[in-house]
């Protein structure tokens, strides 16, 4: 078995400006899946105590974005950041007391999610300027025309240790498999935009489907999902993604966000369950 051949040597790397986003609030309550009014943290800003590799669910949070949430105040620049940033990209802190610290893009939601070493997370603040070294959009498999790569940096693909099997399939290590009926908010959006929520908003559903131990950063497979040109249901297709945001007790139709990295016919993949199928390992994220 060997690594799949790609056009990684033809990709260009672009420096994209971002900044640590500040949380915002509508001033009203949302409603959780039990019908209770909620105001919970999780989106935007810096979450210093929940990181990639931690469990998804035991947090009093909604749309929990681990680490730093990076955005851009200018709408067109923000769109470029959203589309160009790929999981695994290197990010450098440009201003503030953490200047010089280096992190990695770990997911996408309304913001680009970045993990930094703990000593940087402890001092980063909204408004700090970041530079994202964006590379990965345009990545193609030279021998798998029907499998699309989306927001997947060459570094992530290398780290995942994807291999071509003897019967010409892509062997991908995964932590879990998600059935199509659980896919919620994020369907219908572009493949590169944010992520798609798995509707884990009630503890009883998480337990019934056996997802209590799923972790932020886990690589998961989504069945009957076509995420090549947008995201939607399609029998016989498969999407592979990275768990980007967590939190339970959230708004119905939302839940655990999974950012798309690969999609193609189910038959083109060999799925292997592996304990360490998490981007904390694949990207060797610093403690």
């Amino acid at each position: 078995m060997s690594a799949p051949r790609t056009n990684a040597d033809r990709l260009v790397e672009i420096g994209v400006q971002a900044e640590v986003a500040h949380p915002t609030h509508s001033g009203t309550y949302a409603v959780d899946s039990y019908g209770r009014p909620i105001i919970l943290p999780g989106m935007a800003g810096v979450v210093a105590n929940a990181r990639v590799g931690d469990l998804v669910f035991p947090w009093a949070a909604d749309h929990l974005e681990p680490g730093v949430s990076a955005g851009n105040a200018q709408r067109d620049r923000y769109q470029a950041l959203q589309f160009l940033a790929c999981i695994g990209n290197v990010v450098r802190v440009v201003t503030g007391p953490a200047a010089g610290a280096e992190g990695r893009v770990t997911g996408k939601h309304a913001f680009v999610l970045v993990d930094f070493p703990q000593d940087a997370l402890d001092i980063l603040a909204p408004g700090d300027v970041l530079l994202v070294r964006a590379i990965g959009q345009g990545l193609r498999f030279l021998d798998f025309d029907d499998v699309a790569a989306r927001s997947c940096s060459p570094a992530l693909l290398d780290g995942m240790d994807v291999e071509v099997t003897d019967d010409n399939r892509l062997r991908v290590k995964i932590a879990a498999e998600v059935p199509a009926f659980m896919m919620g908010a994020g369907l219908g959006m572009s493949s590169e935009w944010a992520n798609c929520d798995v509707m884990f908003t009630r503890r009883e559903v998480i337990e019934r489907l056996g997802f209590e131990r799923v972790r932020l950063g886990d690589v998961v497979a989504m069945h009957d999902q076509d995420h090549r040109y947008g995201r939607g249901y399609r029998a016989g297709m498969l999407a592979i993604g990275v768990v980007a945001h967590g939190g339970h007790g959230g708004i119905p139709g939302h839940g655990m966000g999974v950012a798309t990295i690969l999609s193609g016919p189910r038959a083109r993949f060999e799925l292997v369950h592996a304990d360490g199928a998490n981007i904390r390992n694949h990207l060797s994220l610093a403690a």
Partner: protein
């Protein structure tokens, strides 16, 4: 067997304003189909003379075509209120323009992510030919706050008392016996999952359930294992009923936009499949 009653004595009738819209596009007009083919989306915004309630949802060279006149309030916050308060079946008066004085009916509501939110109005043929973008409509909104006192576990959304009367569900053995054209699997719901239930629509992904074959605009449909009490999302053993507001879509995760009417526990419903459960017949459009 009796017709189920609503709290009609408690409901307010209010006036909200919407103007006939015109389609919008970006500088780059191309969207992409599920198969990766670029196309120019046609059908949302403005006035559509071609399709109406009762027309097939699929088979148009269009993306979520909106039947009849598509209206919105130019003020974003006022539009949110228009979208929340307008209910399917509500009466509409044309206030300005060549069709001033004629009347229409709300048939649905439709949202495109980060783009627009429209209320869809059916007009008689002569009025439809006469209205133009910018004409002002007044929606006589009624239905927000509606409930079924004998089944308090049900939540009503975008369901006008006019449609309720025409649909006339019955109370049988403490269940709501309601006519719908079909009952769908939960994985049909695509874009719109997680939206506020009352305001706009969710998309039914074509191909996700064979029962979508033959779907028409205006069809009342039920989705099992789906809840829309506050927001829309998967919830085993609950049922949501909606009305198909627009045509189908070639975009992944999209499809016929469906406006939510009613949601509650599966045990509160006795659903009866009936092809007559379409707005064209129920509201005599």
């Amino acid at each position: 067997m009796t017709h189920a009653a609503i709290n009609d004595g408690e409901l307010l009738r209010t006036a909200l304003v919407g103007d006939v819209t015109s389609p919008v596009l970006g500088v780059n007009p191309y969207d992409v189909t599920a198969d990766g083919v670029p196309f120019v989306p046609v059908g949302a915004g403005g006035i559509c003379y071609t399709v109406a309630a009762g027309s097939p949802a699929a088979g148009w060279a269009a993306d979520q075509v909106e039947p009849g006149a598509s209206i919105a309030n130019p003020d974003a916050a006022a539009n949110e209120a228009l979208l929340l308060h307008a209910c399917v079946g509500n009466g509409v008066a044309v206030r300005t323009g060549a069709a001033a004085g004629t009347r229409g009916v709300v048939t649905g509501k439709h949202e495109a992510f980060h783009a627009y939110k429209h209320v869809l109005v059916h007009l008689e043929r002569d009025a439809l030919e006469a209205v133009v973008p910018g004409d002002r409509f007044v929606v006589h909104a009624m239905g927000r706050g509606m409930n079924v006192p004998e089944l308090p576990e049900l939540t009503c959304h975008s369901l006008g008392p006019e449609l309720w009367a025409a649909w006339s569900p019955e109370l049988v053995n403490e269940r709501l016996r309601a006519l719908v054209t079909r009952v769908l699997a939960p994985e049909v719901v695509g874009m719109g999952s997680g939206r506020v239930s009352g305001a706009t629509s969710v998309a039914l992904q074509s191909g996700a359930d064979a029962a979508l074959d033959g779907l028409r605009i205006g069809d009342l449909v039920a989705v099992r294992d789906w809840d829309a009490t506050y927001y829309t999302g998967y919830h085993e053993d609950r049922v949501t009923i909606g009305v198909v507001a627009t045509g189908d879509s070639p975009v992944l995760g999209n499809g016929a936009a469906t406006t939510i009417l009613l949601s509650g526990p599966a045990t509160a419903f006795d659903l009866v499949a009936d092809e007559g459960a379409n707005l064209a017949r129920l509201l005599d459009l």
